[in-house]
């Protein structure tokens, strides 16, 4: 099956990003495809390459970049939500791109399942 993932909260503050990551890894393990993850609202804060968590903590942004590279996942950040929060091309981590909300509706149509993680 093809899974689309929607993430509505930023990293660290809520568990949403963590749950979405562990779900996505498991979906890939189970042999499914995850063509696209869409980052909306505070979810766009998952996309900054400036993040520098403590040594003993997980690096949520890097996990996304690595997962995307290994599995060819399209990490799309909502442009309006991103501009409002200061997420721009100049701070974007590898694997992320900024685009419109149409990319969310499109994956809703194309995927067999859309799974939402928020607060």
């Amino acid at each position: 099956m093809r899974f689309g993932i929607l993430i509505n909260e930023g990293p660290y503050q809520h568990q949403a990003s963590d749950s979405a990551y562990l779900f996505t890894k498991a979906a890939l393990e189970e042999g499914h495809e995850v063509p696209r993850i869409f980052f909306y609202m505070d979810g766009v804060n998952n996309a900054t390459r400036l993040q520098e968590p403590q040594q003993d903590d997980r690096n949520i942004v890097r996990r996304w970049s690595q997962l995307a590279e290994t599995h060819g996942i399209d990490l799309v950040v909502c442009v309006a939500a991103a501009l409002r929060r200061g997420i721009k091309d100049e701070v974007l981590a590898p694997g992320f791109r900024i685009s419109g909300l149409g990319q969310l509706v499109e994956i809703g149509i194309q995927a067999d399942r859309l799974v939402t993680f928020g607060d």
Binding site: F3, Q15, S19, F23, A26, A27, E29, H32, V115, T116
Partner: protein, 99 residues
């Protein structure tokens, strides 16, 4: 339909509202929602009916993170891991998050 609830039933009305709209769907408790699965609590009573029909699940890693032993989970509630979460969405989707 696979419903997920990610909030504690003592803090928000999300579990109550989800159960009121569950119909013949499935419910998976995740994140802080897993506290709803502890036997003997008010929440566990609310979900006893669908649980007795095998339609209620709880995410094991979220239980373990919070120190809730699987032996304390209410009757009929099935513990799954993330792979089980994926299979529930695949078999019983679409997914509705009661965020």
């Amino acid at each position: 339909m696979l419903h997920t609830v990610n909030k504690s039933p003592m803090q928000t009305n999300d579990l109550a509202s989800c159960l009121a709209h569950l119909g013949d769907g499935r419910l998976l408790l995740i994140e802080d929602g897993v506290y709803g699965a502890i036997a003997g609590t008010g929440a566990a009573k609310q979900l006893a009916a669908p649980a007795s029909e095998g339609r209620v699940y709880v995410l094991g890693p979220d239980l373990e993170a919070r120190g809730v032993d699987q032996s304390t989970v209410a009757d009929g509630v099935q513990v799954v891991d993330y792979n089980g979460f994926v299979r529930l969405v695949a078999e019983h989707g679409p997914h509705q998050a009661w965020v």
